[in-house]
Subunit: 441 residues, 2 copies
């Protein structure tokens, strides 16, 4: 199938950055301050001058440094569906800001020169970072295009939301993880997903013929992107329309259950399963189960395909503090203000983690000993930390031993988190160590 | 300039219904109950079946009866920009529901058969209707695709919001209504708008060569729609990009200041003036001036063109109760909870109205004695009622004598309000009369 160049570039913008590869090779990218989107003036002016205009359809909106603007303005570029917070009063977070956090020093990976947490904030092109300790805000800072009343793209953190929703349905007995995917979604029967179990889908141990290699013009990601694009299909387009129709045509490669393979389409297939089980889109279900129930300040939203399907693999945008509330709900095993909002069993199942052997086969060499469960990343470190992770530096990092929830939004020039992990994961550990030290007698 | 058929149809969907002409001639449209969008199942299912799919790009989403779904889901079809409510607690409205309102009887125009207010609710394809009396809710009802936590297209009610913002800037001394438009927006110097005063723009008494006759393939509205479409321009497109660039090319016809001419492009030109004066888009200004300040329950939003420009002529969607709060702010001459939120002078200038002579030349034969001021419709009836009006039945109707604010969202099959006015304006009068009777000793 021929895919137009424009669509290919659009796909790059819409999707590639959700994945593990850098979208655009930048030999020496601008620094965080030099690439500040407010200074650079993207889409500013009435109308913006031609050189400051960004578009989703040609992919320009997601090329660095422009993406530093776009991550906080996704809805202005494409159709979206609301995740309603409902109409009640938000529940304000309690504050106990600690100016020492910015001064914490740590050794980045492969380095013998310590840097501070504040240094890492800049180095990681951070747009917003909040730390809760025992549910109270000890650190909160915004930069770039993000404001406290704005929303930021969560990228593949979305997958962990999808995975959590599925885990909740399993814990509620509404979804049987041992059944085959095709039993829930008959349209997937002849696809690679058909004879995978729901559990294999939730842990991304499916064997799929699906490449996200953008250098390869025949990589399947191009068809996927074209199918899921919200823009009108070009004349003569004969491919699948929408995420779901694409998924029904995915072919098998290898066996299910053997290796973790980080492929976005698993999350969208899981979204399809969720919708068939509940009769709700993931946007509706997320609103009903969580967003309306824990005092969120803002509604969130998903980008949608042209059939209105929320992009369960990477389309969520939300406020920084709201994602912290979400993380705190998870840290508290589903309890909020004395009420059990979602089953503790769903969280416990995430925290136990998945197969380390399966994970080791996925090639994340720097994440040794980790696993992937219900679309969350489990560090298996001594603190039992686990995380939601999205490209360009998005994360919800939960450290149970430190009673810590850390949420970071960022717009790193390199999509793959391998580029920022050396300055991120040890930074999180430094905060966790510090918070634990505060608790010592 | 050649406009593709697809774009033309899209324009019909996106824009035509904002105006005075029926989009699609329906000899015998379905009734409100027969056209219920939930029953008809638009965009329902995972994925929706082909016959239930609606798209903005081909205009299908705004053909009756499908528009009954789309009016409550605009953001799912196109890019939008938030009008933030901020992060504080909403201010709940007080309730004093009165079941007698539905039973009120009135004579529709040209009829000697009285019908009830509840009959009119159905007959007008009402999606949501709320009545405040002295600031308390005496009536509230939802139907169709609208929920209390949803947002509905306000269509040309948006114009009145734009006009109010401009009136506020005039009252604040930041905008001089006697100056020429080109003094604020030099790009409009060689257009029809250039030598109009800001006041003429605010009252739509500009002389513009601009036809909204959809039957005419050369009507200017097609170029306008193509320019403002958020979708990628077709290959070879050489026309203006975005609302503003289109406005700069509008030619003059007749003289300014003589006749009211209801043309959407005046509102967009006024939005441009507002943005140049304030350095803010109308979405940002509306948030700062009003949406963050009176306890709104939900953020609102505007559809945007491909340059991110909010559609000041018709792109606002908002919650029913929030539009009631907005109306109540206007009724109270800008005061809210003891604080002057916007200058009383701006409201007073609306209420005084505009030139009845200029209005009479515009051909709204059934609205005798009315005028148009700051993009509001002034009835000049004995109660001093005035209104914001949008096609397919949207309205904010404020009756000062009855201490009443009525907001209605609807999805009438006929765009022009002439089709529903006979069952609407006398219904509003009946409620006003009833509320006044309650106040009598």
């Amino acid at each position: 199938m021929k895919i137009h160049l424009r669509m290919r570039r659009a796909a790059t913008g819409l999707l590639c950055s959700l994945l593990a590869l850098p979208a655009t090779a930048q030999p020496e990218p601008l620094s965080a301050s030099s690439s500040d989107p407010v200074t650079l003036g993207w889409m500013q002016g009435f109308p913006p001058p031609p050189e400051k205009r960004l578009r989703a359809a040609d992919g320009s909106f997601f090329e660095f440094p422009a993406l530093r603007y776009s991550v906080a303005h996704m809805r202005e570029f494409m159709p979206t569906v609301e995740v309603s917070r409902g109409l009640g009063a938000p529940l304000p977070l309690k504050y106990r800001l600690d100016p020492l956090v910015d001064k914490l020093r740590f050794l980045p990976w492969d380095s013998d020169e310590p840097i501070t947490f504040a240094d890492a904030f800049e180095r990681n092109y951070t747009d917003g970072l909040i730390v809760l300790h025992r549910g109270e805000v000890v650190y909160e800072r915004y930069a770039g295009a993000l404001k406290e009343s704005g929303q930021h793209a969560a990228m593949s953190v979305t997958k962990s939301v999808t995975g959590l929703l599925a885990a909740v349905l399993v814990a509620e007995g509404r979804l049987d993880e041992s059944r085959l995917v095709a039993e829930y979604v008959p349209e997937l029967k002849d696809s690679a997903f058909g004879d995978a179990t729901v559990r294999q889908l939730m842990d991304m141990t499916t064997g799929l013929q699906y490449s996200e290699n953008y250098a390869d013009p025949n990589a399947e990601v191009w068809q996927y992107s074209a199918a899921g694009s919200p823009w009108p299909k070009p004349a003569g387009y004969t491919g699948p329309v929408g995420y779901f129709e694409y998924l029904a045509g995915v072919q098998k490669q290898g066996e299910h259950g053997e290796a973790f393979g980080y492929k976005t389409i698993n999350s969208d297939a899981l979204g399809w399963v969720i919708s068939r089980v509940t009769g709700q889109s993931v946007a509706e279900l997320l609103s009903e189960k969580i967003w309306r129930r824990i005092g969120m300040e803002q509604s969130a939203y998903y980008q949608v395909d042209e059939l209105g399907t929320p992009f369960a693999g990477g389309g969520l945008s939300a406020g920084l503090r709201d994602l912290a509330r979400f993380g705190e709900l998870v840290r508290n095993r589903g309890r909020w203000q004395g009420e059990q909002i979602i089953p503790a069993a769903a969280i416990d199942d995430i925290r136990r983690g998945g197969s380390k052997n399966a994970f080791a086969r996925a090639g994340f060499d720097r994440l040794k000993g980790w696993s992937y469960r219900n679309m969350w990343w489990i560090t298996h470190n001594r603190n039992g930390a686990f995380a939601a992770r999205g490209v360009h530096g998005q994360t919800i990092y939960i450290d149970p031993a430190a009673d810590m929830v850390l949420v970071r939004f960022a717009s790193h020039p390199v999509a793959a988190n391998g580029a920022n992990d050396p300055y991120s994961l040890p930074a999180y550990q430094a905060v966790a160590d510090y918070l634990i030290s505060l608790e010592m007698p």
